[in-house]
Amino acid sequence: MPSRSGRSPRWLSPVKIALFLVCLLPLVRLVMLGMRGGLGANPIEFITHSTGTWALIGLLLTLSITPLRRLTGWTFLLRHRRMLGLFAFFYASLHLVTYLWLDQFFDLERIVRDVVKRPFVTAGFAGFVLLVPLALTSTQTMMRRLGRHWQQLHRLIYVAAGLGVLHYAWLVKRDLTQPLIYGGLLGVLLFFRLPPGVNVLETLRRRRGQAGV
């Protein structure tokens, strides 16, 4: 049973609301641009790229919580990880719906062919599929019910993020700059989960402590 003292201090709740609103900004921007006719010559491409980018950023932000906590010791960060993860899933869903609806118009035959035949679609779709069980098991109840299996299951986010980067890299025509930036960041975040990376973070944290920061 969770103890009373384990509940969030009251000041966390405005933070949570603020974070929620910040996470909504990319969508608000799309809607505003859409109403102003500011989505450019190819609005559907704009929406597709934007939602895909924010899904990927959401995943990277989610993955940055653990290393940040190790570096700073701020455990309250962990309380916001779920929202970041769910927003990543939210933008990934918008991205998928844009593809299914605005790009393929729910033409099931074409969609299936695309998923099977086009490696970049396969990677992106697989990444999304992996995120579904994570979103479904993100509640407190499911965390408790799954126990230690919960963490094992949620390691799928590493694979999903990797597939997201691959999806991006495989679709660009020539300029790999952007996918490489996301891939590099993902690499760094994953490194800080391996023993040598964890050591680096903990050494840095100890030094901070000694410096009296």
Binding site: R29, M32, L33, R36, G37, G38, G40, A41, N42, I44, E45, D103, F105, D114, K117, R118, P119, F120, W170, L171, K173, R174, D175, T177
Partner: protein
């Protein structure tokens, strides 16, 4: 053979006046400035060109609505100015189109360096409304102004060895910021077989919508080959070289398994990574089926008779 217009041949430049667009754009920019945030604005600026005089309506027209001037001039692939679609409109201002020389050389009896202003008077300018299909899966309808490339080729008097024509784009990293990164092996080169280059549909374009070609669209002179994917139509040309062997084009050098020499629009031959069966016409909601040879099969299919189009993509 020219396509007969099944409708009233009013030049599209008179149907969709660019001034109206620009007026609206000025208003939009004001609104965007009010909204303040560049993250919420991001509207690329189109450069306006002076009107070209003496342009006659050409024989090649389309019974399809032309893509708006704004979209034609703000959504471009011109990697010399960056790989983003709005980069050319935002950055091509730095390109200087005067003085400009075009060297016609190689296997010709009359090699010549043309001054752009002389080149503009080489043949009567006509308006040609063509479909433009990008290899990425989107398309436009563009009212170009130009003249058949064949006019220039005839004056150059190619020798019997001239079997291909190579086109070279300006190399100027100082004014073309995209050339500072090694996305492609600069300068950009393209090529056509002699019969493709001589084909009446193939033009050198110097304008669009009745106006001087905006920088982001390949000023001052570019190729337009409407039955091929857009990247075949080299922009900002400085050299036209007649050669005996098939030239290596910039995209073939970059990714030979993805981009072939011919690159004819073909819905049945997919790009290795995506389908070419359909396209999004800019300005339309639903996708359309891509047409064989981009709808110019009646005029060009004979050029490729007997060729395996899967092999010669």
């Amino acid at each position: 053979m020219p396509i007969r217009p099944p409708f009233d041949p009013v030049p599209p430049s008179e149907i969709t006046p660019p001034d109206v667009y620009r007026e609206r754009r000025r208003f939009m920019q004001g609104a965007a400035a009010l909204a303040a945030s560049p993250w919420l604005g991001g509207a690329g600026t189109a450069l306006a060109g002076p009107k070209l005089s003496g342009v006659r309506a050409g024989a090649y027209r389309l019974d399809e609505a032309s893509t708006s001037y704004k979209d034609v001039t703000s959504y471009n692939n011109f990697y010399e100015f960056g790989t983003g679609k709005s980069d050319p409109a935002e950055r091509a201002r730095s390109l200087r189109t005067r003085p400009w020389m075009v060297s016609v050389e190689g296997e010709v009896k009359r090699a010549q360096v043309w001054d752009i202003d002389a080149l503009l008077k080489l043949a009567p300018l006509e308006e040609r409304v063509y479909r433009m299909r990008c290899v990425e899966g989107w398309s436009m309808v563009i009212p170009w102004v130009g003249f058949p490339l064949a006019e220039l080729i005839r004056r150059a008097e190619p020798t019997g060895n001239a079997r291909y024509v190579e086109f070279v784009t300006l190399s100027d990293p100082a004014r073309m910021p995209g050339q500072r990164s090694r996305i492609l092996d600069w300068p950009y080169t393209e090529g056509l077989r002699m019969d493709e280059a001589m084909h009446p549909l193939t033009i050198l374009a110097v304008g669009l919508y009745g106006e001087v070609l905006p920088n982001q669209n390949g000023a001052p002179v570019r190729l337009v080959v409407p039955w091929k994917y857009g990247f075949k139509s080299a922009k900002s040309i400085v050299k036209i070289r007649f050669v005996e062997k098939q030239p290596l084009t910039a995209w073939m050098a970059a990714a030979p398994d993805e981009y072939g020499f011919y690159s004819n629009v073909n819905p049945k031959v997919d790009h290795p990574r995506w389908s070419q069966a359909r396209e999004r016409r800019i300005g339309e909601f639903l996708k359309r089926d891509t047409l064989m040879y981009n709808g110019y099969g009646a005029q060009v299919a004979h050029l490729y008779r007997g060729m395996d189009l899967q092999k010669y993509f």
